[in-house]
Symmetry: D2
Subunit: 342 residues, 4 copies
C-alpha cells in the first residue's frame, strides 16, 4: 500500500533530507510540497540536486488540499510551525520537525522559547518523537514532535543509565560537537565557509541551549526526580554529524551492560564493544547512532561517546522512522541506507 505525503517547509535542509529519504521509500509518495517565499518554484530551482525527481511544484500551504494526504511532515521554523499546524485538518497525521511541540508544559515552553504557546491543546496532545522510547504512543498518535538533534543524541547515550540509576544523577556533563547543517540554511556570518572552515567555537555555554528543555523534561520524567545536566554545544567545521562526549560517575562495565541491553533489539542504535568509541564519519547520511563506553583512568568515572547524523537520525530520518510507525509500515523501511563515506 502507498501513502500520500505532504512536506511543509520543503526548502530547508531537513525538508531536502526528507525528500531524499522518501525517494528511496517503497510505500510513500510525495503529493504536496509547501513553502512560503519560494512557493511557485519547481523544486529543482530550490534544490538542483533533486532535479531528476518527479515532484510537485512548491505551493503556498493554504492552497494545499489535504483531503488526500495521509501524513504531513512540518519542517517549518519554530513558532511558525505551531501557527500552521493549528490550522491543519484535525484528523491529519502530522510529524513536526520544529521545536514547537517538544515540551509538554506551557511554562517550560515559555521559559525556553520566550513566547506563549499558540496551540496549547495541540501541545498537550503531541507525543515526543524519540522512537526507541515512545514507540507505542507514536503508533497511535496524531501529532508527533520530532526531537532536537542534540537532544536525541544525549538521550540515546543517557536515558537507559538514568532510568536504571547506573550513574550519579547530579553530575552529568555533556560536551557536544555539532556540524553546521544543524544550524539550518541560515544566512549568518559564522556559518560562512570563510569563517567556519578554519574556526570553531562553543556556543550557548552555561546551560542556555534550548535543547536543555528537552533534557530536563525527559530525564526528570524517567528519573522520577529533577535531573539537570550540564550541556555545552560546539560548532564544528563539518556539514553533518553530532559527536557527544558525556562525563558521568558510575561503573563503566555496568554502564556498558545497561546500554547493550537497552539497545539489543534496536535496529538503529549500536553500542560498540567496551573501550571503542564512534566517529561521525561512520554514521553520516544514515539513520544509525553509534555509542561507545570507556572507563576513565579515575575509578568510578566513565566516558560515553555518541555519534549520529544530525539531519538523518537527528531529524529527518527520525521523522521517517516515526512515519513508518504511525502508518503501520515496517519501521526500518527506507532507512537502511549505508553511511556515506568517504
Amino acid at each position: 500500500m502507498t501513502y500520500s505525503i505532504a512536506i511543509l517547509g520543503a526548502s530547508g535542509y531537513t525538508g531536502a533530507e526528507l525528500i531524499r529519504l522518501i525517494a528511496g521509500h517503497a510505500q510513500l509518495k510525495i503529493e504536496a510540497l509547501g513553502a512560503f517565499s519560494k512557493a511557485g518554484q519547481p523544486i529543482k530551482q530550490v534544490f538542483p540536486h533533486l532535479r531528476h525527481l518527479d515532484l510537485p511544484v512548491l505551493m503556498q500551504i493554504d492552497e494545499i488540499d489535504f483531503a488526500n494526504i495521509d501524513l504531513c511532515f512540518c519542517a517549518l521554523p519554530h513558532k511558525t510551525s505551531q501557527e500552521v499546524i493549528s490550522k491543519l485538518p484535525n484528523d491529519l497525521k502530522i510529524i513536526d520537525l520544529s521545536a514547537d511541540f517538544r515540551l509538554s508544559d506551557p511554562d517550560d515552553y515559555k521559559k525556553w522559547y520566550g513566547n506563549d504557546h499558540a496551540a496549547k491543546d495541540l501541545q498537550k496532545e503531541a507525543v515526543y518523537g524519540l522512537t526507541e522510547f515512545y514507540r507505542d504512543q507514536i503508533a497511535t498518535a496524531r501529532l508527533v514532535a520530532g526531537t532536537g538533534c542534540n537532544a536525541a543524541t544525549g538521550q540515546f547515550m543517557l536515558r537507559p543509565l538514568i532510568q536504571s540509576a547506573a550513574i550519579d544523577l547530579d553530575d552529568i556533563i555533556l560536551d557536544l560537537k555539532c556540524a553546521v547543517s544543524g544550524a539550518g540554511r541560515s544566512l549568518k556570518e559564522n556559518l560562512l565557509h570563510a569563517e567556519l572552515s578554519e574556526g570553531y567555537h562553543a556556543y550557548a555555554v552555561g546551560g542556555t541551549h534550548r535543547h536543555l528543555g528537552e533534557f530536563d523534561q525527559e530525564f526528570s520524567k524517567i528519573a522520577g526526580r529533577s535531573v539537570h545536566v550540564q550541556f555545552t554545544p560546539h560548532l564544528i567545521p563539518a556539514n553533518r554529524g553530532i559527536l557527544a562526549t558525556a562525563y558521568v560517575k558510575g561503573d563503566p562495565t555496568k554502564i556498558h551492560d545497561v546500554l547493550v541491553s537497552a539497545y539489543a533489539s534496536e535496529p538503529f542504535v549500536e553500542v560498540l564493544p567496551l573501550g571503542d568509541t564512534p566517529q561521525t564519519r561512520d554514521t553520516r547520511g544514515s539513520n544509525f547512532c553509534h555509542i561507545g563506553v570507556v572507563a576513565d583512568r579515575l575509578p568510578g568515572r566513565t566516558i560515553i561517546v555518541g555519534a549520529l547524523d544530525n539531519l538523518t537520525k537527528g531529524s529527518s530520518g527520525q521523522a521517517l522512522q516515526n512515519a513508518n510507525v504511525m502508518l503501520g509500515i515496517e519501521e526500518t523501511e527506507g532507512l537502511m541506507m549505508v553511511p556515506f563515506f568517504p
Copy 2:
C-alpha cells in the same frame, strides 16, 4: 532472481562505494570480499561505517571459491589487477575498476603505463565500460573495463560533439577539477587534510595524465581520425566530485542540441537548459552526470561544463550499471539514490 557477487580489493574507496551501492540493490548479494594485507579482518574493522551489514570476512583472493559467483568486481590497484584477473576462472563475468583493460592497444598501454601488459588476450577481449556508449557490447561481454573517472566525465561532455563534428576537433581544451577521493586511499603528504584543505593545484600538466590514453583512443575511434585534446586536472579540497570545463570551437546552440538529443533517453545523463551550468554538490553520491552549455561572448566559442561524482558515476556506480546490463537486470536498479546534500 538474486545474483552472487564477489568484490576483490574491498578495502579501498571504490570497494567501499560498491558495497554501499550493492547494499541497496534488490537482486545482488555479496558472497565474497577479497583483499591482500587486510585479509582475515571483518569489514567493520576496515570500514566501521559498514558495521551493520552482514558481510563475509575479507579473504585472500586465492582462497575464494568462485564456483558460485555470478559476477566479480575487481577494485584492485593497476598492474595487480591484470595479474589477478588472468588467474580467475575464464567463464566468470568480471568488471574491472582499474586502468588495466581500458586501452585495447598493447603499445598504447605500454606508453601510458610503462610496463608490458601481462594479459594481452584479456586486453583484447575487454569491452570499454562507458555504459551509455557501449551498452550492447557490455550486455554480452565477459570482461568489462571500467573507465577512468576523469575520462568518463570528458567523454560524456564531448563524445556526441566529436561524433557529429559539431566542434573543431583540433582545438579542444578540458580543464578538470577533481576531488581528493579520486586519488584513492593513498598515504601522500599532499592528500593530508592539513596540506590540501587550504591548498589546491594543477597536476600532470601538459598532457601527461594517463586518462589521456582513453581520450585519445575513444575520440580518435569515433572521429575516424586522430584527435588529441588538451587536458589539465586540478586537485580540489573536497572529497567527492569532478567538475570539468571544456573550451571548444563550435556553435553553442548546435552543441546544446546535439547533447540534448544524444542523452534524451538516458536516465543518468542530464543536459541542463542552454546557459545553465552544473555544480558538484548536485550530483554528489549519485549516479547522475549533469552537463551545461554556455555561449562565450566570442562568437563561435562555447563552454561546456560537466559534473559527476568520481566514486559513483565515475567509478563504482558505473560498475554497478554495467553489472546490471551484464546480468540482464533493469539498468537503473540500485542506482536511483538522490544526491547527498548538504
Copy 3:
C-alpha cells in the same frame, strides 16, 4: 617617519586584511576606521581576532577628520565607493579597493557595472593599481584603483606575453579557481559552509564576469589592438587563493623566457623553473605570486599556471604595496611575511 592612515570599510575581509598587514608595518599608523552600520563599535566586536590591537573605534565616515590623514584606503562596496570618495578632501591620497575606478572609460564602466559613473573626473584621474606595471604613475598619483583579484592574477601571467606578442592574441583561455573569501563577507546560500565545502562550480560563464572589463582594457592597451580573452571563474571550497590556468598558443620556452625576464627584479612575482607549477598553499597569506609554465604535448601550445592569495597580493597586499610607493616608503615594507602553511 610615520604616516597616518584611515581605512574606510573596515568591517569586511579586505579591511581586516589591511589591518593585519599594517599592524606589521614599521611606518604606518591607523588613525581612523570608517564604517556604516557597524559605526560606534570597537573593532574587537566586529573582528575579535584584532582585540589585542590598540585601534580607534569604528566611526561614520563623515565624522572622520581627514586633516591629519596622509593616506586613506577605501575598502567599501562598489558604487558606494565612488560616492564616498567624491566627497573626500581633494588633496587626500586615496587607494580604492573597489571596482569603481579600475575602468577609465565611462562607457566601459557602464557596460560592465550597469550604472553611470558618479565621479567621472576622478575616474579619469585614477591610476590603475597593478604596481609592477604602473609603478611610476602610482608614485605620483593621488587616487589609485586597486585591481580585481582575478584581474591581477591573469595580468601577471599574460601581460608580458601580450606585450611581446609571444602568444596568439586571439586564442587566450583563462580558467580560474578562486577561494571563497573573494566573494567577501556576503550572506549568500552558496557561500555557507554546508553548501560550499563539498560543492564547487563555475560562475559568470561565457564572458560575463566584470573583471573582463579590466582584461579588455589592459590587454588591448598594451597590444595596441583589441584583445578579448575567454575567462571562466570557479568557486572553490577554500578560504584564500586564486589558481589560474591559462591555455595559450606559443612556444613554451620563449614564453618562459619572457616571463622570467619580465619579473627578474620583481620582489613579489616569482617564475618557477620551466615545467613546474605553483600551488595556492605556497602563497597563502603572502604578497607573492608564483607562475609556472609547462609545454603541452601538442606542439605550439603552452599552459601557464598562476597562484596568489586573493586577499593579499590580489587586494590588500597590493594596496599596501601601492601605499608604500605613493608615500616613498620601501616598496616591500610590511609585505615580506612568509606564506601561512599549513
Copy 4:
C-alpha cells in the same frame, strides 16, 4: 645584536612554523637546518612556500658546525630528540619541541612513553617551557623543554585556579578539540582529507593521552598534592587550533577574577569578559591564547573555554618566546603578528 640559530627537524610542521616566525624576527638569523631523510635538499623543495627565503640547504645533523650557533631548536620526533640532544655540545642553548624533556621524573617518562630515557641527566636539567610560569628559570636555562600543545592550553586555563584552590581539585574535566596539524605531517589514513574533512572523533579516551603526564606533573606540583584531571582530546577537521572546554566546580566570578589577575600583565594570554568565550579563528597563526569563563546554570559550576593555535602558541611560537627569554631579547619580539583571518 643578531643571534645565530639552528633548527633540527626542519621538514615538519613545527619546523616550518619556526622558520615562518624567525623570518619576521629582527635579531635571529637561521644559520643551519638539520634533517635526516631530506638532508641535501634545498628547503624550497621540502616547503615551496619558503622559496623566497635565503636559507641554508638541509644538512645531516652530525655535519652541522655548532661552534657559531647561539641557540638550537630541536623539532625532531620523540625518542630521536633525546639521542640527538645528548650528542650536541654541552654549552649550546637548546629548545626542544619534542616530548622528551617535559617530564622530569624518569619513572613518569617511562610510564607515559614506554621506554627508558636515554639522557637522564639532561632530563633532570631541563626546564619546563611554559614561559608565563617558568620565565625566570628559562632565562638561565641551557635546555628548555617545549610543552605539549594540549598541555599548554589546559595549563593556561587551570594553573592559576589550582594554585589558588579556586576550584575542586578532584573533579576537573578537560574536553579538548584539536585541529589536525597537531598530529604532525604523519601519513595516516584518518589524517587524509577524504576521511577527516567530514568526520571527527575522540581519541585516547579514558585518560591515556601522553599530555596527561604533563598535567599530572605540573598540577600536582603547584597544588602540593596529587591532582589528576580527566582529559579527552578530539580530532577536528581544521588545520590549526585548539579549543578546550573545562568543567570545574567553583564560583564563576572568583574563577574569572583569579584568571584576570593572573594574566593581567601577560602580553599573550587574554582573559575575556565574564560570559564571553573564545573561538579558534581569532587566535589562528598568532601567539595569543584567549580564555573565557561562563557560569553554568547549576550553582557552583563553571565552564572555562580556552583557544590557541597549536603550532604557534602551542609549539613554535612558545619556543620562540622562550628563545627570546633565553637570549635576553624582548619577549614579544617577532611574536606580535595578527591572527590570520579569514
